[in-house]
């Protein structure tokens, strides 16, 4: 599990998962902005969408870690 999350024990900031961050920010902001006209609801909706994406990715991560532990 440690190897999966921290790329063979290297430092946390070397993990490729960081590449997901700009994509999550952009996707949630653009998605929210296509559903509202004013900035305040856009920021709030974007935060909620980003939370959903991170939550979904975390669940997938846990499932993969569990499957790798089984093998």
């Amino acid at each position: 599990m440690f190897n999966l999350l921290f790329a063979d024990g290297s430092r946390l900031w070397n993990n490729d998962l960081w590449y997901a961050l700009p994509a999550i920010v952009a996707v949630s902001l653009v998605y929210a902005a296509t559903r509202h006209e004013r900035m305040r609801p856009i920021w709030l909706h974007a935060g909620r969408v980003a939370g959903w994406i991170i939550g979904f990715m975390s669940i997938v991560c846990v499932v993969l870690v569990f499957l790798s532990w089984l093998t």
Binding site: A23, A26, V30, H36, P41
Partner: protein, 197 residues
């Protein structure tokens, strides 16, 4: 508390001006359609998010390293290229081209490559050279697909992902410029409230 602000329709009608022109401008440059409609904040947001992703993808698909097969340099923006030859079709480009003008150099480069003319701009957005032994053509220094995968490694796929997501997001933006924000159905459970600052 958050839901109070989130799922509400737009209170006033938005002046979309000429929706067809706005949609075309939104395709041409992300955010330009909204700028034309006077929706400046959203224009800036769309431009920064989509062009940020696209440029980051171009950066990931770039390298100064030398190719093993062709002895030339990899160059810039290699993850965005167009090829419609059988067996070399680039399906991601169908998504990437939704970014509009920034992805169009790939069409020019593909045309030059297919007509056996030297590609421009040091091979920026040029398709990889077919792997031909002892190639003496004008693009003999251009990298092959093998070169791109060997040098760029996983960043080649990452660059594809970023540029493709940028293109797909711009489809939403084009729709927003055409028809306004996609709100919930008026009169529904969530549509009874009105949006306020």
């Amino acid at each position: 508390m958050i839901a109070k602000f989130v799922e509400k329709p737009v209170p006033e009608s938005i002046d979309l001006k000429d929706p067809a022109l706005a949609a075309f401008l939104a395709w041409l440059i992300p955010g330009l359609g909204h700028l034309y409609q006077g929706r400046r904040a959203k224009a800036a947001l769309f431009f920064l998010c989509i062009m940020g992703l696209f440029v980051f993808g171009l950066y990931l698909g770039s390298s100064n390293e030398q190719c093993k097969d062709s002895k030339g340099k990899i160059g810039y923006g290699r993850a965005v290229y167009f090829s419609w030859k059988k067996g070399e079709r680039t399906w991601p480009y169908l998504c990437q081209v939704c970014v509009g003008l920034p992805a169009l150099p790939a069409m020019i480069q593909a045309s030059r490559m297919s007509h056996n003319k030297k590609v421009w701009w040091g091979g920026f957005m040029a398709p990889p050279r077919p792997a031909v032994r002892n190639d003496q053509g004008p693009n003999k220094l251009q990298p092959t697909l093998h070169d791109l995968h060997r040098v760029l490694n996983r960043y080649f796929e990452l660059a594809w992902v970023f540029t493709t997501i940028a293109g797909l997001l711009n489809v939403l933006v084009i729709y927003d410029a055409w028809a306004g924000p996609m709100t919930t159905t008026p009169g529904g459970k969530k549509g009874k409230e009105t949006e306020s600052d």
